[in-house]
């Protein structure tokens, strides 16, 4: 499943993205294996606001759609 399918408030672990996106995400402190919590979503197809490693990052829907996640996400 992709990050887009995670409901607001839900958590998921990032397992796969495209190569180009991976390095891009890394710049924002987002790595494969990280636990991502979806905090908010902007209306009308707007971006998601997620929290990862204590940071909040806005991800456009087209970005979130390219992020494969799994639901198993360890508690802290």
């Amino acid at each position: 499943m992709t990050l887009l399918e995670i409901p607001i408030g839900g958590k998921a672990r990032l397992i796969k993205t495209s190569e180009g996106l991976r390095s891009k995400l890394r710049q924002y402190g987002l790595h494969i294996g990280d636990c991502i919590q979806v905090l908010r979503a902007a209306p009308l197809g707007g971006p998601l606001l997620v929290e990862v490693n204590g940071r909040e990052v806005a991800l456009g829907r087209e970005v979130a759609a390219k992020m494969l996640v799994e639901l198993e996400c360890a508690s802290r």
Partner: protein, 568 residues
């Protein structure tokens, strides 16, 4: 050696356990995931350790089956070291268990977990002080990231081998222990700024699907009101001052001579720079810096991302558009924040179509003044429509290869005066260095043209354009000279037509057509020079050609609409 992990529910013991033992314990962000204990044999720096993950327990007394299980296990002899995992964000509650464990008189290591969360909450924990007070090693841990894991097991190994026992302490009654934990926590935890809660509350409103947009509108409205207010208030005295200075500078020269014309041109160029920089640009940049430092701009990007997608850009590109309504120069400069060259080009091209304060003055002075505010509003909406349309067309021509919006949402901060001013100064300096000389040189050239009385030729040169737009040939000069200073377009129009009572010399359709054309055609010289520096000469020329084409089509469209509906 046997090490037992114990901690209160949801403190992250199991995460720590999994970090060393592989994924064996069930974890989840809710209490009591671990009901039975899990054991594993792990190797830490050559030593084989038996690791036990005990069920979460708030206390060792009474309590749930899970807590009893934990107490029973710890009581057994074969536990050599206890690793007490504590949720550092709730230290007072966590220490409750720690004090109980101290009374067990077994080697103990206190692991403060979720230290990342602690700093996020603005808390600071004096681990050393806590360690001295409790008489046991205290180590930081971010179990979820595996940070500090090794340190904890090495320490556990050390105290286990040396058999370092905690200082003898009496078993305390529950209430005393509770008070003691609260007291200790208070002593070693300092509360910094509580970023998260305030931030979340702010974001609940500012990023709200409805209120967020309402507030955004309000913020932008106030922003523009303030900037234009300052501009309106500071511009006239500045212009007066320059009128005086120009008169003074011209006195040594023979009137109407080439030299006096040149001096006039240079002075006007200097004045143009000052008249743009001080009244409008500086307040704009200060305001923008303020919004930026507060942390509001990323929120704007978040809110506007969906809309910006319609024109082939994403949320971050909203800033050039906002700035464009003040002055296109900082607007083009701000495209630098976009990562992809394609996005920068597209945003810069579209931002130059946004009517700046000077061009809005033409719309207000002609359309609003003579035809009413509704007509001006119509022009405004027409402008947005055209920008959206051009955006769509351009983005179709330049397929997107960007991943889209990825933007860190920083915490809100109180901006510092120094920061805001130095940022504004830095940007003003760019304008002064890059655009101002161009303005002055251009002004001098125009003065020369004026001296040689080329108005007739200019009008002739642009006659095809003015003719097809149905405008009198005299508007050629204000159009060409307007490239230098858009805010003078209206004054020059009056001079060219020989009357500032435009009602008498222009028909309604001509006024609207002129305003529509001015709204889009060639950005001013200052903007052109910034475009060239930010994007290069060719893109600058492309964008210039684009703006002329858009202006031409808009003018024709307006004229055609008037013709069709017979309003002209």
């Amino acid at each position: 050696m046997r090490i037992a992990l114990i901690g209160q529910p949801n403190c992250g013991k199991s995460t720590l356990f999994n970090q060393v033992a592989g994924y064996k314990a069930e974890t989840g962000n809710f209490s009591g995931t671990t009901v039975a204990f899990t054991e594993s044999r792990v190797r830490v720096s050559g030593q084989v350790l038996d690791l036990t993950d005990l069920p979460g327990a708030y206390t060792l007394e009474l309590g749930s089956p899970a807590e009893m299980e934990a107490a029973k296990y710890l009581d057994s002899r074969n536990v050599d070291v206890i690793v007490n995992v504590a949720d550092a964000t709730h230290l007072a509650a966590s220490l409750d268990l720690t004090f109980e464990l101290l009374a067990l008189k077994k080697p103990l290591v206190l692991a403060l977990n979720m230290m990342d969360e602690v700093s996020r909450l603005g808390l600071r924990i004096d681990g050393e002080g806590l360690s001295r007070e409790l008489g046991v090693p205290v180590l930081p841990l971010v179990a979820s990231k595996g940070r500090g894991v090794r340190g904890i097991f090495l320490k556990a190994l050390e105290v286990g081998t040396k058999k370092t026992f905690p200082p003898t302490s009496e078993p305390l009654s529950a209430s005393v222990r509770h008070a003691r934990s609260a007291e200790t926590a208070q002593k070693y935890v300092t509360q910094g700024e509580r970023r998260m809660t305030l931030r979340d509350r702010l974001d609940d409103v500012l990023l709200h699907p409805l209120w967020g947009y309402a507030i955004l509108m309000l913020v932008l409205y106030l922003f523009f009101q303030t900037v234009y207010g300052i501009g309106k208030w500071t511009e006239p005295p500045l212009l007066k001052l320059f009128d005086f200075l120009i008169q003074w500078a011209l006195t040594p020269f023979v009137a109407e001579s080439l030299l006096s014309g040149l001096v006039l041109g240079v002075m006007q160029g200097i004045s143009a720079g000052v008249a743009i920089v001080l009244p409008y640009l500086l307040p704009f940049l200060l305001g923008l810096g303020l919004l930026e430092d507060i942390g509001y701009l990323p929120r704007v990007a978040f809110l506007m991302d969906a809309l910006m997608h319609r024109i082939g850009l994403h949320g971050k590109a909203i800033v050039p558009f906002i700035l464009g309504y003040g002055c296109n120069v900082p607007a083009v400069m701000s495209t630098r924040t976009l990562e992809e060259p394609r996005d920068r080009y597209l945003a810069a091209a579209l931002a130059t179509l946004v009517p700046c304060a000077a061009r809005l003055a033409v719309v207000f002075g002609l359309v609003a003044f003579y035809m009413g505010p509704a007509a001006a509003m119509g022009m405004f909406l027409f402008n947005i429509f055209v920008i959206a349309l051009v955006g769509r067309i351009l983005s179709n021509l330049m397929p997107e290869d960007t991943p889209g919006l990825i933007l860190e949402m920083p915490p809100y901060r109180v901006p510092t005066v120094k920061n805001v001013f130095s940022k504004a100064w830095f940007r003003v300096r760019e304008f002064v260095v890059e655009a101002w000389p161009v303005l002055i040189a251009g002004s001098a050239v125009l003065a020369l043209l004026n001296y040689f009385d080329v108005a007739v030729y200019i009008n002739l040169l642009v006659r095809p354009l003015t003719w097809s737009l149905g405008l009198p040939s005299e508007v050629g000069v204000p159009l060409i000279f307007g490239i230098l200073r858009k805010e003078l377009s209206l004054i020059m129009l009056g001079q060219a037509l020989g009357s500032s009572d435009f009602d008498n010399v222009l028909s309604n359709v001509q006024m609207v057509t002129y305003a529509a054309f001015v709204m889009f055609y060639l950005p001013c010289l200052a903007t052109l020079s910034v475009l060239r520096r930010e994007l290069g000469t060719r893109p600058m020329l492309h964008i210039s050609a684009l703006t002329v084409a858009v202006a031409m089509l808009s003018g024709l469209l307006v004229r055609g609409l008037f013709f069709l509906f017979g309003a002209g």
